[in-house]
């Protein structure tokens, strides 16, 4: 009968211990970055509208699948660019067709609509691409190229994921802090009526937020697909992990989302060390429930501010 060894790390070899720890850490950072990027997408739309967009995971899936489709015709960078643009258009369309013309609807109702939209996107993807599994080629090297530091190995694609995510975050920060458009979006997020009085078109800001989130999601999908593959239903589980991270960090706070993503990823990774892997997701969701019960504003969130926010 098979048995699992919990403390299978030989303690007598200190060096090996540290290297294994580091390998788990690297794995955790890999998962965590993926979750964080999805969470940032959630936060952008949330900040502009107060909606939790359940279709966020589908943007990631669409980005990956479209890129693979385009890659058969175009070189890789153009395929990715094309995928991002197409997904952004889809994001804009979703907002315009489903959300824009509703007159001050309840936010919860909109959230439920996004659930329905997520399902529809998934089924359309099924009809378009079937059930097969797809991936872009590795950006550098192949499936087995690794960069090794001692006995710790990391695939260059993971570095791509981390660096592209970092660049996205920096650009977003820049956008929201220094550009006029970004500041207008922030104005809308904190006080919609006042912003409108200043001449900012709230409706356009909402569309822009969808476009941005879709773009981020799509890019993440492209960069991550060599590692994780995409399939018509990859979006769902990503969405759940993504908003767990978003809530963990505090809804709306993208910097915190990154930290929260890394924390969750690392926690999950280390949980595999000591627990049956089958329950790995139970950990993530239990953390979600714990946070919701104990501190819904998130680890880094402002408790008073979140209480004031309208639901």
């Amino acid at each position: 009968m098979g048995h699992r060894t919990y403390a299978s790390i030989p303690f007598f070899d200190g060096m090996q211990h540290i290297e294994l720890l580091s390998q788990y850490l690297v794995a955790g950072i890999t998962y965590g970055t993926i979750y964080a990027v999805v969470a940032i997408g959630f936060n952008i739309i949330y900040n502009a509208t107060g909606i939790i967009n359940f279709a966020q995971g589908e943007f990631v899936m669409l980005g990956g699948m479209t890129a693979v489709m385009l890659h058969t015709l175009l070189p890789l960078p153009l395929a990715i660019l094309g995928a991002v643009i197409i997904t952004m258009t889809v994001g804009a369309l979703i907002e315009i067709v489903f959300i824009r013309w509703l007159t001050s609807p309840a936010v919860l109702r909109l959230t439920i609509i996004t659930i329905g939209i997520a399902i529809l996107i998934r089924e359309i993807a099924l009809a378009l691409w079937g059930t097969g599994v797809k991936a872009l080629p590795y950006f550098t090297g192949t499936a087995v190229t690794v960069i090794s530091i001692g006995d710790v190995h990391i695939s260059p694609q993971v570095l791509w994921v981390i660096s592209i995510s970092a660049v996205m975050v920096v650009i977003l920060h820049f956008f929201f802090t220094y550009t006029l458009l970004g500041r207008q979006m922030r104005a809308c997020a904190s006080n919609r009526d006042a912003a409108r009085l200043c001449g900012i078109s709230a409706k356009n800001m909402v569309t822009l937020s969808f476009v941005l989130s879709a773009g981020i999601g799509a890019l993440a999908g492209c960069v991550v697909s060599p590692i994780t593959y995409v399939q018509y239903d990859s979006g769902t589980s990503l969405a759940i992990k993504g908003f767990t991270v978003a809530i963990l960090g505090g809804l709306g706070n993208s910097m915190a989302a990154i930290a929260a993503g890394l924390i969750l990823g690392i926690l999950e990774s280390f949980s595999i060390w000591v627990m049956p892997t089958a329950y790995k997701d139970v950990i993530a969701i239990s953390i979600l429930l714990l946070i919701l019960f104990v501190r819904p504003s998130g680890i880094f969130g402002n408790v008073e501010a979140s209480r004031l926010k309208e639901f």
């Binding site: 007159t103 959230t111 439920i112 609509i113 529809l120 429930l289």
Partner: protein, 360 residues
């Protein structure tokens, strides 16, 4: 007033009977199978209408309670206790009559909990879980509530999917019939089909009666006040959190009972019953029926589940419910089967300026 509310139930009962007679007449008795299954799913819908429609608490994880009921009953009635025959717990259980020795499909002897005891156990456990989960969950509002319930549903799904004792991905099979009283048995046997149809819908009628009584009582008024303006109700001395908690537990029990009975009718249960898509379906049905409109939810639920179980939607089953969710929430968040539906739609397309809409 009293006559009015029971009138509807009486008409409903008449319809149930009429449908059975019509199907038998038309030679389409096998339809009763899917109608019976739809009936058990309707129990979940009754509970959910109470929760979502009357107390205004959304639940995206109610399939979890259905699964808890079904799986517990399935496990208890199929887990063979013969290897543990001599343990104290087992002999004590046997004395209380909770166990039964029977032969399974292949003629092997099994000592397991008998269905009645398993059903009661399943309901008790559900109450306990709903109590524990309910307290913190119901303190949340809006998105957070939605997500907490979604999280709960996902945990149940992952647990039944990952636990070997519960059959993991295969689920549990060869579940025996459930003898209610000598002569009435919940089971999938073709000969007992009509009987089972009435058992299922009998339960639904019972549930609807319970609901109707509840709504027209003091409790019902308290609920409506909570739904309308919770803070005001609190200020008036209504113990809102207690009410919400109790309704949550009640809706969970409805779902669990549906799960127990359907499991015995089907003879098996799989993790798909706990999946998030199932929970989303229930919400879609409530939405299309009208949040607080029990009859609407019941009829739409029956129709949709019936068609889905017969494969009418083919491979796009989920898409249908997703489509319903989107369209209903967009155009008719108050549901479809209302007399003022058309007036509402016309209004929506005519007036653009800000209109205060009530939250679901």
């Amino acid at each position: 007033m009293a006559r009015n509310k029971y009138l509807r139930i009486a008409i409903f009962t008449a319809c149930v009977i009429a449908i059975q007679i019509i199907t038998s007449f038309a030679g389409k008795t096998p339809y009763l199978t899917q109608l019976t299954m739809a009936g058990y799913y309707s129990l979940v819908i009754i509970g959910l209408t109470l929760l979502m429609g009357y107390t205004g608490q959304i639940s995206l994880g109610h399939a979890g309670f259905f699964a808890i009921g079904g799986y517990l009953s399935a496990f208890l009635t199929t887990y063979n206790l013969i290897p543990y025959k001599d343990k104290l717990v087992v002999t004590w259980l046997a004395k209380t009559g909770a166990l039964v020795m029977r032969q399974d499909l292949y003629g092997r002897d099994i000592l397991a909990v008998q269905p009645w005891a398993a059903c009661i156990a399943a309901v008790l456990v559900t109450i306990a879980i709903a109590y524990v989960i309910g307290r913190p969950v119901l303190k949340l509002k809006g998105h957070y509530l939605a997500m907490a319930t979604l999280g709960f549903g996902t945990i149940v799904y992952k647990i039944v999917l990952g636990t070997g004792l519960l059959g993991a991905a295969d689920g549990l099979s060869d579940i025996p019939g459930f003898r209610l009283i000598p002569g009435l048995e919940v089971s999938g046997k073709a000969a007992l089909r009509i009987q089972n149809y009435y058992i299922a819908w009998g339960l639904v009628i019972l549930g609807v009666t319970l609901l109707t009584n509840l709504i027209h009582s003091r409790v019902g008024r308290a609920l409506r006040s909570i739904h309308g303006a919770e803070d005001a109700a609190n200020a008036m001395g209504v113990n809102t959190s207690q009410y919400k908690q109790n309704i949550f537990i009640l809706s969970a029990v409805f779902a669990a009972v549906g799960g127990v009975f359907l499991t015995h009718f089907n003879g098996g249960i799989g993790p798909s019953e706990a999946s998030i898509m199932k929970s989303v379906r229930y919400v879609a049905i409530i939405a299309i029926g009208g949040m607080a409109n029990l009859w609407g939810a019941l009829s739409m639920g029956t129709v949709l589940n019936f068609l889905s179980l017969r494969g009418y939607f083919g491979s796009y089953d989920d898409a249908v419910f997703g489509f319903i969710l989107v369209v209903i929430m967009l155009l008719a968040p108050e549901g479809l089967l209302r007399t003022d539906l058309f007036r509402d739609i016309r209004k929506r397309f005519q007036h653009k300026p800000s209109q205060e809409e009530q939250s679901p």
